[in-house]
Structures are given as C-alpha cells and as structure tokens.
Amino acid sequence: MTHAAPRPPRLARRLLRLGLAPDLRECVLGDLDEEFARFQVARGRIRAGAWYWSQAVRSVIRAHAPTHDHHHSSRTLMPQLAHDLRHGIRQLRSQWSVSVTAIATLATGIGLSTSLFTVVDAAWLRPLPFPNPEQLVSVKISVDTPGGEATMSPSLNDVRAWRAGGRAITHGAIDRGARPVIVDAGGPERVSVSVVSDNYFEMLSVAPMLGRTFVADDMSRSRPLVVMLGHAYWMTRFDGDTAVVGRTLRLNNQVAEIIGVVPAGFYTSVAVWRPFQDVPESRRGHGAPIVLRLREGLSHDAASTILAEETRASGAGRVLGVRLTSLHEETARGGRVTLQILAAAVAAVLLLACVNVAGLLLARGTTRRREIAVRASLGGSRHQLIRMLLAESLVLAVAGGAAGVLLAWVSLDGLVALLPLSIPDTTTVTLNTAALAFAVSVSLTTTVIFGTVPAIRLSRVRLIDALSVSDRRTVGSLSRRSGQTLIAAEVALAVMLVAGAGLMVRSFVRLAGVDLGFDANTFLALQVAPVDPSPTVSAAYYPALLDAVRALPGVVSAGAATQLPLGGRQRAGVVALPGRDFLRIDVRLMTPGFFETLGIPVRNGRMPTDADRVSGRRVVVVNETTARQLFGDYPALGRIISFKSYDADDVRPFEIVAVVADTLPNGARSPRRANVYTLFEGTEEVATAPFVVYVRPRGNAAGLGDRLRATAVSLGMPVVVDSIRPGNAFVADNIAVPRRRMQLLGLLGVVGLVLAMVGIFSVTAFTVSRRTTEIGVRMALGARPAVVVRTIIGDAAFPIAAGLLTGLVGSYLASRLVASFLFETSPHDVVTFVGVTAVLAVASLGAAWLPARKAAFIDPVSAMRAD
C-alpha cells in the first residue's frame, strides 16, 4: 500500500531536508509524510500537495525563528523582509510610470537574452546527447599524392587497422548523412534516409528500441537490403506497431526488410536508416565521412599521433597526418559566428536595459532624497534604509524577471523561426532550467546592483543638505554627471546595435539585387520522380510528361533539367585541355525547352532539338564561363570537346552548338562555374537526382499548380510529386538565411534604439523636473522659452555627441565580427555609418527635446513656489 500511495511533492521534501536542523529532520519529515498520506485520502492529491508545500515553506522559515515571544518576532528576518517587500510594492505603485518603464525595460532585456540564451544553449553549448560525447570525433587523413597534399576520408581498411591496433579508438563507423529518397511503406513518399555502417549505433551507445542494428554482413550488396526505422516515422507510418520487425518496405523501389527501430529523440528528422553498401575497402576519399570513438581519457592530439603511426605501420600509402575534429564542434560549426554575433548583440541589448534601469533608479532615488533624509532623521539606521531600498529593487527585479520570462516564453518559437541557422535535430529548443536560472540571475544582479548604488549613495547624504530647501534649486554635480554618463553609454550601445542592423540591411539589398542569370518570376518548377528509378521508366515518363504539360492550356513552354534553380553543384566532370590541365565542369542533362522556360539568354548558336537526339549526333550547350576558360576569345561554336557525360562511364566527344549565359549555381555569393548541358537521352539514371520539370505559364499561373500535379500522376505509372513551386520561391529560400539574419539584427537594432530613446527621455525629463525652480527663476528674469529649451538640450547634446563618437569607434572595431556575412559591403561602409549617426543624432536629440519643450511652458510663479 505504501508504494501505491502518492509521495509528497519531491521538491518540497528536499527543501525541508535541506532547511531543517538535523535533530528535527526525522520527526518533522515523518509527521508530514504521515499527515500527507491521510490528507491525501481525505481531500485529494492536489490539496494535499498544496498543504505539504505550505507546511514545508513555513516549517523551514519558522523553525529558525523563536516563536514564543511576539515582541521579538519583528526582529527576525522573515517578517521584516515581508514588511520591506510590502513597502517596496507600495513605493512602486506610487511611482507607477517609472516602475512600468523599468519593468518593461527589464522584461525586454531579460526576455530577449533568455530566449537567445536558450537557442545558444541548444545549438551550441549542450553536448551531443550520447554517452561520453567528448570521445566522438570525425576524422580526415592527409595523404601525399602526385598533385600535392590532399585531405580525405580514411578508407575502411584504415579504420579496421586502427580498431585492430586498439590503442586509440574503440569504434569507427561511416555516417554519410541523410538524403531524401522515395520510400514506399503503404504509399510512396520522399523521406529523409540516412546512410550509416555497422558499428554506428554501437559507437554512439544507442541501443535499438526494437530489433537489432546493422552488422557487417548487411554492408554487402549481395545480401538482402535491411533498414531501421526512425522513431517518429515508425509511429506515424506503422502506428508504433511492435510487430514491425520482419516486415518490408520499398526503398528506391528495392525491397528492404525492417530489422529494427531506433529510440525516440535520436536524430528525429531521419525516417529510415540504411547500411552503406559495398564501400570499397581500401579506397580513401569515398565521400563518406567517418566518425570514431576515442579511447577514454585520450586527448585528440595523442589519438591523432597514434592513428598516424598505425596507418604508416600498415604501409597503406604515404600518410602525412590524421586530423580529428570533435563531432560536437563539427555539428555546431555552421552557426558559430552567427551565434557569436547574436550573443554580442543580445549582451548589448541587455546592457542597454541595465543602463536604462540604472538611470531610472538613480533618477527616482534622487527625487527621494528628502524622504530618505526624513526617515534617517527620525531614527532610521543606514542599514535599515539600504535594506528598504534593496527590497524595492528586489520587487522590481522579480516583476521584471517574471515579465521577461513570460516574454521569452512567448517569443521563443518566433525567434527560432527567425534564426539564421539550423538547430541540430538531436536537441530541442525549450525554455529549460539553465535558461531560467540565467534569466533570474541576470535580472536579480542587474536590478539589485543598480538599485543599491543609489541606496548606498543616498544613505551617505548629509541630512542637513538633503533637508534644506536650497538643495533642490540646483542639480547636484554628481547626479548630473552620472545622468550624462548614462546618456552617453546608451547612445554608444545603440549606435553599435543599429550599425550592425544597418550593415545587414545594406548587404541584403545588394544580395537580393544580384542577377542570378535566369528569370525567377516567370516559371514554375515541378519536382517529380517515378517510384521505379530504372532509366527505362524515366526515359518513358519525362518526355510523355513534357508533351502532356505543353498541351495544357496556359502553358507557354516547358523543359526539364537535372538542376534545381540555385540547387548547388551537380555531377562534376572534367574536360581535357590539350597540352594543359583539366577543367572541372558541372555536367547537366536537359531537354529542349529548358533555356526558354528559365529565361536563360542564349548568347550564340542554336538550341539542341529532339532531332539531334534521334540522329545520334552528340551536341552540347556550354555556358560563357566554359567557353571563355576553354577557348578564350576564340569562338566556341562548332568545336568538339570530350568529357564523361552525366553518369556515363567513358569520355565521349561532343559538338558545341550553343553558348548560354552563366547562371549562379548557388545564389549570389557563389562563384561562376563552368557548366555544360547535354541532351537527356533516356539512358541516364535521373530518378535519384533532382530532375526538374520547368513550366512557363502565360500570365497568371493561378490553378496551374493543381493541373500540373494532376497531369504528373495521370501518366499511368506511380510517381512521387515532391513539390510544385514558383521560381522566386527558390530565390527566397536561397537568401532566407541572410534575410533572417537581417531581420533578427534589425529587431535587436530597433529594440536598442527604443531603449536608448526611453533612457535619454527619462534622464532628461528627470533633469528638467529637478531644475524646475531654476528654470522658473530664469524665465521670471526674462529668458525666452527657446533659450530654455536650448539650455536643456545643450545639456544632453554633449553626452549624445560623446556617445555617438564612442559608438562609432566601437562599431568600427566590432564590425569585423559581421564581415563574413556582408555581401559586397565593406564592414566599414561609409553610407551605413553616416546614416546610423544621423538617425541616432536626430532620435536622441528628439528624445531630449520632448521633455525640454515641457520646460519652456513652465509657469515661473508656480515653478518658484514648487517645494
């Protein structure tokens, strides 16, 4: 029975255990357990839990406080603290606008930094979710080749030798990563398939949830194909059926037996795992990355020395060195600079928020000098005064921190969507204890420090000065200077944030304006593949599809190619240059109609036609870069070049019939490459590559997508339609990361600007209110309102100028951090810096002008009477 009954709340019980004196522990814990059990039966679990919590908290607090003599209890810690806190809340309510501004400022700073901390933690700090992740490394070897030193993946024989040697590693396996492949398990679809070798799961200490993992035998193509299922895929496709082991599915139209299921949370985006079959045992540089698990306690340097020795000892080629990279490093590397920038920007926002709060608290503290002096003269000790102000700060910190956590919680999803980097799919981004602890410590430190500074200073105020009326006539030199320092600091920080945002915007505008070599606004791309990958099926399917599509109403032209717009590099070939080097080229297949449909300009010559294909003439279209690199200024048309065509086994001669404009293979930042296009003959295997059908509609393409899909599946063979997208969607994707980067830094820039404006406004407003009497005197003596406004603004203008200068110098130094993200934009871009300076100067002076203008309307008589 005892085991079935619910236990008291664990955390509360732990609190008790820690908080109680040792001699009380047994009886109190036992009593509360006993009562909880009864309470729980009588009143239900929730109320019992609440009761237990209240008992725990009160027991811990009161067990230390003497309880019998009430006249002493006011001196114990807790009641006094409660009193101070109540007082703090009253104070904050009485200065509502200041409190709301301070809390909102804190919430912004804390909210943003907490959610970004969460992201940084998930993407960067958290170790890989495997046992002893520090032992996992990816490995490359440097080999001496006739062409010089080359770095490549080691061969399987190398790995075997290392394992047999046993001095450096315990496991080694291939991890070729995931690619989209057509899988048929009750309906064909393209899913993410990861290719690994035997030992992979053992290396990561991942036990299958069901069935078994891959063994050496599975690696041979002569054996039947086996696969493991990803957990999520197994849940959705097989309803989590535990009898799935032994069943089959089709992978690339090949039957595969399911031998196991990986546990939940392990690379969640991968649907199916398959073995890497028939890796050449002795071949290095096979394009499959290899991961090793080092022996425990072995450093990377020591391991790489041992591995290099062992490789040399095995006598396989001249190995110059073995390079190990921590797997965690490798996974997180992509976003490192981005994260550094974000961390820096967020630190700036947080700092700005802190400076703001400091300004607010200082200003508020100064207006309360007299109140505090009165308290002191009535017998309040310095210690009590500091404690009182501290309690107020604490209330502020807790409110700001809570609002910040709320903001972080609300903004996290949006932020993750905005992130210019991908989060490894072994981790999830949720607000966790670390992030919350971070938020709490940040908010407490900020406010308590900046709340205590005025407290300590104020408690040092000489009573006579603070109480005397004359004190209010002029601003004390200390607080004026600190107000000006705050303004300068805020402007400087804002300049840096806005400059970062400005550089990103400018770079993005240039990036988006680059001519990619084709007209993205006038075509639709239809990605479709027959389930059966054999060339005969493709040879029948694509020409039939193109004919059917061209017959659709509203279609101007259609063509296909083994190239997604901005889809990166493709199969590389080489063209032999007589007497010289080789030229690396990308070979693509296309059908007639491809260039017209994509709007790639033809510079010279004629388009290949189906007649060329039928006649058996081998013709090729080259881009301008190819023509220039092969023939310089000489005409390329009619020349014969020889290369290995798309997945062909031998080199063949082709006649150049046309030269077309370059397209940028990977977006604006990619270098121009030598491309050639050959006609799709129908013998090539294209099903696994992105063979894409392009369609140019007449005018409005509304509804064409559906008709294209209907046409694609209506040709009498099973196909998978992956996507139908307009050309500009690819462009948008291609620049999505820079766009998000711009948006995120833009957001931080705007937040920084607003925070700085609020800060300048509040400091200036405070100055004005402090100088009301002085201004009244001046105006009574005949000063014109314009002069008064000028005086007040002039007071703020110097720190603003100083802040601008500091900020510009800071940005100049810090902009190197973002340099790698800038496209054709100097990190010291003059236009950006001038613009930022102008924006900040205008906005800052505006923020100072608003309260200054109020000063001009001060009525001299009432101003002099004030206080």
Binding site: T2, G30, S59
Partner: protein, 117 residues
C-alpha cells in the same frame, strides 16, 4: 526566575496532557488545529517543543515508525511535573486577571469600530 509560558507553549503543553500516551507530532498538531483553528507548521512546533524540553517541562522518547512515515520514527512527548505546575500557574494568572471581565469584554467586542476622522 522561572520563565513564563507563551500562549503557543501553553497550547502545546495542554495538548500533550490531553493526548496522554498518544502525544506525538501529528496528534499534537491536530489537537491544536481542532481546538483553536491554528494550523501551525511542524517546524515551528518542534522548535517550541525542543525549547520546552530544554526547560524541563516535557520529556520525549523515540517511538515506533509506521508504514506511511517512510521509516521515520515518531517522537512521543510526555508532561513532566514542572510542566504541569507551570500550566497551572499560567492558567491561574489568566483566570485571576480575567475574573469578572466577561460582560465588559462582550460589550467591547461587539462595539463597531469608529472611523478615524
């Protein structure tokens, strides 16, 4: 000079007398709660009991455990003669001071509070 009893101490001592052999943490707390409505915290109660024991007013002994106490033993309390004497004395003082004040207190308690101007 013997210390006088606080109200809470008096309540605890009376509860122990009332409970006889069955006076341990849970029952003492319950007795106070049932008779006075005061839901005292276990921590405060044991601190006070410890002090009373130190002053020689009560004695305690380790008792048995129970299944729902996860192995923690009970601590039983018993009143000592000095404790009983102090209870008597405290109650005599209270009675002496309160004698004849019943009607007056009733009038005072039922009066409406006057608003401050």
């Amino acid at each position: 000079m013997p210390q006088t009893l606080g109200e809470f101490e008096l309540l605890l001592l009376l509860a122990i007398v009332r409970l006889g052999d069955d006076a341990y943490g849970v029952t003492i707390r319950r007795a106070v709660l049932d008779q006075t409505g005061r839901d005292v915290s276990a921590g405060a109660m044991y601190t006070t009991l410890g002090r009373l024991e130190g002053r020689g007013l009560v004695s305690s002994r380790e008792g048995e455990s129970a299944p729902e106490r996860t192995g923690m033993r009970r601590r039983y309390y018993q009143i000592r003669p000095e404790g009983a004497r102090q209870i008597q004395q405290s109650m005599r003082h209270v009675e002496a001071m309160a004698r004849g004040l019943g009607p007056q207190l009733a009038v005072l308690a039922s009066a409406r509070p006057r608003r401050r101007p």
